[in-house]
C-alpha cells in the first residue's frame, strides 16, 4: 500500500523567507501532484510532475521530483502573506488513484 508523508505538517514563517516542504512516498510512482487549499475551499492544482528530475516553477513556488529517492519538494522563495494555505502532495498509484499526504498548513506572517 502506498503511503505519502509530508513534512512539516505545520509551518509558520515570516514574509521574505525561504522554506521547503517535503513529500516522501513509499512505492514507485512517476506522477506526483501538488495542490493548494484555502480554508473552506476546494483544491487548486499547482504542479503536475510526471518524470524523474522534473522541475516546475510558478511565481514564488518551485516543485521538483526525484523518483529514485521517492521524494518531491515544494520550495517557497521570499514568502508573501498570500501564500498562506494548506499544501498537499498527491501521488498517483495504480489505476488513477491519488493518495494524498497529510497536508502542510503554511502560515506566513508579516
Amino acid at each position: 500500500e502506498l503511503k505519502v508523508e509530508q513534512n512539516p505538517l505545520f509551518l509558520s514563517m515570516q514574509e521574505g523567507k525561504n522554506y521547503t516542504i517535503y513529500c516522501n512516498y513509499s512505492t514507485t510512482s512517476d506522477r506526483l501532484y501538488w495542490y493548494r487549499q484555502d480554508p473552506g475551499k476546494s483544491l487548486e492544482s499547482l504542479f503536475v510532475l510526471l518524470s524523474n528530475g522534473a522541475v516546475k516553477q510558478e511565481g514564488r513556488l518551485m516543485a521538483s521530483l526525484d523518483t529514485k529517492a521517492r521524494l518531491s519538494t515544494l520550495h517557497i522563495t521570499a514568502a508573501v502573506h498570500d501564500l498562506s494555505a494548506t499544501y498537499f502532495c498527491a501521488v498517483e498509484w495504480g489505476a488513477q488513484k491519488l493518495v494524498f499526504g497529510q497536508g502542510t498548513r503554511l502560515t506566513i506572517n508579516p
Partner: protein, 112 residues
C-alpha cells in the same frame, strides 16, 4: 481543462437521513472520483465511478453507505446514507483532465 459544478456547496442534515451530492462536468470523462476530507484531515478516495458499470470502492467504504450513480459521461452522484455525525466532512468529486486532476468545489456536510 474540465470545469466541474458540484452541489450542494454545503448542507446541515439530521442524523439518519441521506444526502445526494451531484457533480456535473463540462466535458465527457471516462472516470469520476469521489473523495472525503474529514475536518482538519487530508483527502481519502471513496470510490471510482465508471459510466455503465458499478463503482469501485476503496477499503473502508461500502456501496450501502455511499451509493454512487454514473448515468452518463458528464454526471455522477454520491449519496451519503443513514448519516451520523461521523459523516460530517467535505466531499469532493474529481476528474482526470489528461493534464492532471481537477476537483469540484466541494460539499461541506454537517450532520447533527
Amino acid at each position: 481543462s474540465a470545469v466541474i459544478s458540484q452541489k450542494p456547496s454545503r448542507d446541515i442534515c439530521q442524523r439518519g437521513t441521506s444526502l445526494t451530492i451531484q457533480c456535473q462536468v463540462d466535458s465527457q470523462v471516462t472516470m469520476m472520483f469521489w473523495y472525503r476530507q474529514q475536518p482538519g484531515q487530508s483527502l481519502t478516495l471513496i470510490a471510482t465511478a465508471n459510466q455503465g458499470s458499478e463503482a469501485t470502492y476503496e477499503s473502508g467504504f461500502v456501496i450501502d453507505k455511499f451509493p454512487i450513480s454514473r448515468p452518463n459521461l458528464t454526471f455522477s452522484t454520491l449519496t451519503v446514507s443513514n448519516m451520523s455525525p461521523e459523516d460530517s466532512s467535505i466531499y469532493l468529486c474529481s476528474v482526470d483532465t489528461g493534464y492532471g486532476y481537477t476537483f469540484g468545489s466541494g460539499t461541506r456536510l454537517t450532520v447533527v
